[in-house]
Subunit: 257 residues, 2 copies
Amino acid sequence: MNCNTPTDVTFSFTGFAQRGGRTDHHADGWGIAFFEGGPEPGSDKGLRHFVDHQPAADSPVAELIRRYPIRSRNVIAHIRKATQGAVALQNCHPFVRELWGRYWVFAHNGDLKDFHPRLHGSFRPVGSTDSERAFCWLLQEMAKSHADMPSVAELTLTLRELLPRIAAHGTFNALLGNGQALWAHASTDLHYVVRQHPFAHATLRDDDVSVDFAQHTQPSDRVAVVVTTPLTTNEAWVRLAPGELRVFVDGDSLLNS
Amino acid sequence: MNCNTPTDVTFSFTGFAQRGGRTDHHADGWGIAFFEGGPEPGSDKGLRHFVDHQPAADSPVAELIRRYPIRSRNVIAHIRKATQGAVALQNCHPFVRELWGRYWVFAHNGDLKDFHPRLHGSFRPVGSTDSERAFCWLLQEMAKSHADMPSVAELTLTLRELLPRIAAHGTFNALLGNGQALWAHASTDLHYVVRQHPFAHATLRDDDVSVDFAQHTQPSDRVAVVVTTPLTTNEAWVRLAPGELRVFVDGDSLLNS
């Protein structure tokens, strides 16, 4: 989720968490990261990071997040179906690292074959997933390309060169966030919706819950939600094309991104 | 806390959290990190990390930790009284970074004057505290001293050289952990106790709670707790000398450490 105003994820997370063992088979752990802190959009440098190797549908930590509305402009969540790497805390997404004095958060849906890049830089995997290897390699190459934090547009150009090199190894639906922007790379399945004025009703696909966003929003609010499979049955989800990279800032997809 | 068997911190955390706004003035946020994952002591590479800029005494996340027993062999917790850096999520301890394919956790009690080391390496502060600067410098110098993960004994020798260079700038009671060991450096206030067979009753100083550890332990269990001010009124807390560095492994203080 990427928004222009701090927003809670309780509605979306309620449906999403059901896929961790109840309505879907992604039951090998889960995680969520919330950027927080700054008064202005893009200034959120603080991070809350929750991971659990229990299924999201049963986890007490997930229950806390469903009940306690943490408000954030940038959230990345993941529920895991283990393909590579055991069911263990260090293999739960999203992964977090610091680069250029900012936290970076990464989650991956898919499977990479024979992806063993040379990691000679400052980022090494703690766990044993293909996903964390991809994240470490990505940060290593980003650090080589820019001495300091580049603009969102500049970094997007760099990512446009780097991400296909990972995607060549298999299925690579991936989200990368730093509190300023959310980068979404599609390989097979990634959809997004932008919720903005006039807000409407939405009904969750995975749980018997509806919400009237008009009752919980200001007309200036804007929220982009990016997910592998659409969360609601009655919103205009847009499917990303294979190989597409989209950047979300302040709740909207950047033009020509 | 450093133990030889996964142990929950609900008892110690109940008293500790009271100091976050109730029995003490450390009300500018708090945090806790739990290593988890491996079957053997020293193999815990997974990490749960909770931070909150609300006072620990009132925080819903702290409430979760008091009620939901997370079992871990290595835990570092901190409640903050802001001396440098605003009350913000990115300034809450403990801080986390990855080095040599392991997560490192750091918490600091004290205040460093004129500590602005040259950070030319791969670790840069996200927030604005003297503490995170100290942690980044420490990791940078550790990375220079060892190409790969050294033994606990080798790293202790390195830390014995590096930590006094930070401590020269002010008060530096600090804890560093990596899931294998807990390093404790005292400047003014740091106490530890080793709980082992025969286990006894303990009564919290900050809350009207007692526990009979004998009812909750096996004879082989061993738990070291290190804290600025003793948590209980009836245990044999040992005070660290100014400038002393102590290493805890499997719930005990290493000899000649």
